[in-house]
């Protein structure tokens, strides 16, 4: 899943480490989410979106999620 996390971090001059500490996860998890290798859980996605003052849909790109 694509995300705007890297863009948002650069805009707010936040490192991966700082974002990870702010949302209670590890830097490796943030890296994996940014690369699209790992999909964040609902709770973590909410925490990340809330940290940037945005909604989940504004941070995470759901356009590629197939509808059943």
């Amino acid at each position: 899943m694509n995300t705007k996390i890297r863009e948002l971090r650069k805009r707010t001059k936040l490192s991966q480490e700082e974002l990870a500490a702010a949302v209670g996860t590890t830097r490796q998890t943030i890296t994996s989410i940014e690369c699209g290798k790992y999909t964040a859980s609902l709770v973590l996605a909410y925490k990340i979106a809330r940290h940037f003052g945005l909604t989940i849909e504004e941070v995470f790109d759901f356009s590629q999620v197939k509808e059943s």
Binding site: G24, T25, T26, Q28, Y38, A40, S41
Partner: protein, 154 residues
């Protein structure tokens, strides 16, 4: 779920208590092994020195690992920042997902490995064959029990 500092300290203290019992218990087993206290009960002359050495090495290994973790937990109790970082690492969702995948994937490999080993061992030693078969049955029973437990929990 967020874990408060007090809850983290409580968890670490409980681990320290359990770890201390483990270190003491294994220490007693090591002492018994060193003084050959088990020899009269395990076949006497048939109890090979090699086997005794391997068992002693395993017990010492378990004790060293337990002591390492006790020292780590004591250190964490004294440093709140490191304690929080440690708990974040332990409870990280990506690490948990990796561990779950490893558990599921490795079950197939170990099951097939045990079956093959049991078949091959059966040509050489009935004791080894029964031990490997027992290990396979134990693995299946543990998996079944965990499946039932987690099916009810979630």
């Amino acid at each position: 779920m967020e874990t408060s500092v007090e809850r983290m300290k409580e968890i670490l203290r409980r681990r320290l208590i359990v770890g201390s019992f483990l270190v003491s218990g294994v220490g007693i087993l090591i002492a018994l092994q060193v003084y050959n206290m088990f020899r009269p009960f395990v076949g006497g002359e048939n109890y090979a020195d090699f086997l005794s050495g391997v068992q002693l090495g395993l017990l010492i290994g378990v004790d060293l690992v337990a002591v390492f973790f006790l020292a780590k937990y004591l250190g964490l109790l004294r440093d709140e920042k490191r304690m929080r970082e440690s708990f974040v690492q332990e409870n990280d969702e990506r690490n948990a997902a990796i561990a779950a995948k490893v558990g599921v994937s490795s079950y197939g490999f170990t099951s097939v490995g045990l079956v093959v080993a049991a078949v091959v061992a059966g040509y050489f030693s009935i004791g080894a064959f029964v031990a490997l078969l027992g290990a396979m049955v134990f693995e299946v029973l543990v998996r079944l029990a965990l499946y039932l437990y987690y099916s009810r929990k979630f």
